[in-house]
Symmetry: C2
Subunit: 457 residues, 2 copies
């Protein structure tokens, strides 16, 4: 018996999930193991623990246990901004004049402005538990750095962020949020690391890159005498585990009203949000309990799942991190500048890559201009200004809802709204001025970077 | 019997208030009537209706009816972001090591980022009902303009915002939010109005002022052939009426858990947020049903209640709006530049002015640097980056909680957290750099502007 459904479905605090769900446990075909970049052998927990916190290294390699307890201090932190609202998009449905029912899970409801906080706080917690002085990381667009600085502030942990220099200079407001939360923010490349100094000597005046910032952050951690570890906001299986809270809450909220989605949609850069949203639903499908259609939405300018290959590759352009088997455009692929910085990643988390390879998930790509059109439509009727990244999912959800309008089908569409666009107003300004453009890489460009994939026996 | 209190107390959607509360109905000493600036006689509904929508003019003059129905389409809109959370500030209490219990009502939980949306949507609705083509307004810091552009977008109403030129140029991101919601944003002074052209001729290169922007917005409305009306985001009694939803929700949420605040605190610029928050509590006190301590917090650089006089004055520096009896520093008072633009107003809404004059409310003033200290403390433990305006209330709440620590008293402190600081990161940056300064006007400066008060028989 379906009750009348409110605009926002809030779970009560005592309905907050107490365990994360590890979808790998239910996968018949497990994601391929991470490889040590030197030995090309599956990386061990001890090897990983030199870079990551011990407990996080353990979680990274655990593809057996389906449920992992969320520590009590994390539950307390989650209570400050979770459960996050699940919204029935009545106004969008009306605007589109579609018979489809549209729901979105809104993760921008905290000061960091995105879902990244869900994993940042977990990683900060385990670092604190291990008695570390702090953590190092890189940030590009700044969502991850912001979330991590909030998390470290809460646990009184030092936070050193290497921010791609061009973002550091172009996004001073993002930088100030991190500093307000007590993080030190260093424009990368910098003269604080050996790798930074080398790059500066070779390329004076460079604006930096995510790959270089990763290399500096890793170096800062491994040369800290064991006082710091490196943390990462996406791609890793541990991150998907933490982000499963998105899907668990969503499923609990829908179950309350007897709603079962037909289509589940998320934007996909490294895959952390999408992986978290779909996990419990995918688990049901893997166990043969339900059927869903899952759609990963990526930018046409960085089409990892739709035009990449499934192969071992480096996770970073600096080639110092473990090798992962994943859909990739090649670690040397340089996506065109675009305004969804969080989706400018050459690879895709191994979990989602395996699910795609097994035909359990679809992927589609959309252009930047069509994404901003969808973002503005959504903002005006739903009253939330979405991040450009999140707006990829909005675009696909609108397209599916419009298909329903044509066919008359009353499908239930669920998508992840990962964050807000407050720090992306320069991009909106270009859209408002009509000066946004699209870029789609040629087959030759993609082939050139794929030709440099590492050879793994 | 007090239940265990969650971090966030959410009301269910069916607990949304269906009526606004008009505190004037319970005031023994009513606010003095607005005066026609030409005749100096109490302004009539017809006179007001030339500038404001008819229904809003009616609400402005109604000091008799305690409850006014919220129209159903507004309830639907409120459902998109309301009920707003009431938060028990457990983390702040712990940080301060105080026996006090602290609660805050968070109104930044919508894309406009502040409580202004509560009245913007009401004013847009009545304009739409009246068959108008659109509305005109001014904005300084931009919160009101943002809220109004969202509201007009929802009702498909044209929105013309005159934005103080210096803000227009310094806050391009605020401007782009408004444009994204379809508003036209004109830097003021402009050549689109007679008053604007006069000012430009007299002061070429001026950065503009709120007074000038008001004059342009009013002129644009009254010369539109009846197709537009002017709307205002604070000071007016109609705005306090709409904002009473803040207090009504807060009271309902506290009542659920049997909590009665001892002290209720809000920042005060024009008074819209504070008036809305305290209204139902003040109503109880006026009816002799309860006792509360109310504290208005204003910036030391613009100390209307603490250093102004209670007298008739112009609401705008252009002296074209009705005269209001209120606490004022004089309409020619020019507050020093500071980073809580929403509190840079020379007067105070007549309702709160009368309550202060009657000894029913206290006022205090705080310096900008102490406010940002409080903001950062709050942000780091409560996970919300507050607007500089809201942080005035945080400062006072922390001070009261620290007094409790000294005395050992377990008081219950409630404050209004009106909005988020995403568009104020330049100010936070100055705080992070240690380059923020304070400014306190001299007695002579205040006396000089008070000497120019209009003479009302």
């Amino acid at each position: 018996m379906r009750k009348e459904i409110p605009y926002k479905i809030y779970l009560a605090e005592d309905e907050l999930p107490r365990q994360w769900y590890n979808v790998r446990a239910d996968m018949k075909n497990k994601p391929a193991p991470l490889l040590n970049p030197d030995t090309r052998l599956p990386i061990t927990e001890d090897e990983l623990s030199a870079v990551f916190c011990r407990e996080l290294a353990r979680q990274e390699l655990d593809d057996v246990n389906p449920y992992i307890d969320i520590p009590e201090p994390l539950i307390d932190f989650y209570r400050m901004y979770r459960p996050a609202p699940l919204v029935r998009a009545y106004c969008l449905e009306q605007k589109l004049d579609t018979p489809a029912h549209i729901y979105y899970k809104f993760e921008g409801n905290n000061t960091s402005g995105s879902h990244k906080l869900n994993s940042a706080i977990a990683q900060a917690y385990y670092a604190k538990q291990q008695g570390l002085a702090g953590v190092t990381t890189e940030t590009g667009a700044g969502q991850w750095g912001t979330a991590l600085s909030m998390a470290c502030s809460y646990f009184d942990l030092d936070c050193r962020v290497y921010m791609v220099k061009v973002s550091h200079d172009q996004k001073p407001h993002r930088r100030e949020v991190m500093r307000t939360y007590g993080a030190s923010v260093t424009p990368s490349p910098s003269d604080t690391t050996e790798v930074g100094r080398k790059i500066l000597a070779a390329h004076p005046g460079t604006g930096g890159s995510l790959g270089c910032a990763i290399s500096e952050a890793v170096e800062a951690a491994v040369t800290s005498g064991g006082k710091y570890r490196y943390v990462l906001g996406s791609v890793l299986s541990q991150v998907l585990l933490h982000q499963s809270i998105i899907g668990l809450e969503t499923k609990a909220a829908l179950d309350k009203y007897g709603v079962k989605p037909d289509i589940i949609i998320g934007c996909a850069g490294g895959g952390s949000n999408l992986g978290g949203l779909i996990s419990p639903f995918m688990g049901e499908m893997l166990r043969g309990e339900a059927e869903y259609r899952f759609i990963a939405v990526e930018p046409a300018s960085c089409p990892t799942l739709t035009r990449g290959v499934y192969a071992y590759d480096y996770c970073d352009t600096g080639m110092i991190c473990p090798l992962a088997k994943m859909y990739t455009l090649g670690s040397s692929f340089m996506p065109a500048p675009m305004h969804a910085g969080g989706l400018r990643y050459h690879g895709m988390t191994p979990v989602l890559s395996q699910l795609c390879a097994d035909g359990l998930m679809e992927a589609t790509s959309v252009t930047q201009t069509s994404v901003f059109d969808a973002a503005v439509t959504f903002a005006r009727v739903e009253g939330i200004l979405p991040a450009p990244e999140s707006s990829h999912a909005i675009r696909a959800a609108i397209d599916e809802a419009l298909k329903c309008k044509e066919t008359g089908e009353q499908k239930t569409i669920l998508f992840g709204l990962t964050g807000t666009g407050y720090f992306d107003m320069a991009a909106y300004g270009r859209h408002n001025d009509g000066s946004l453009t699209d870029y789609i890489p040629t087959d030759e460009e993609i082939a050139a970077s794929l030709a440099q994939l590492p050879v793994v026996e």
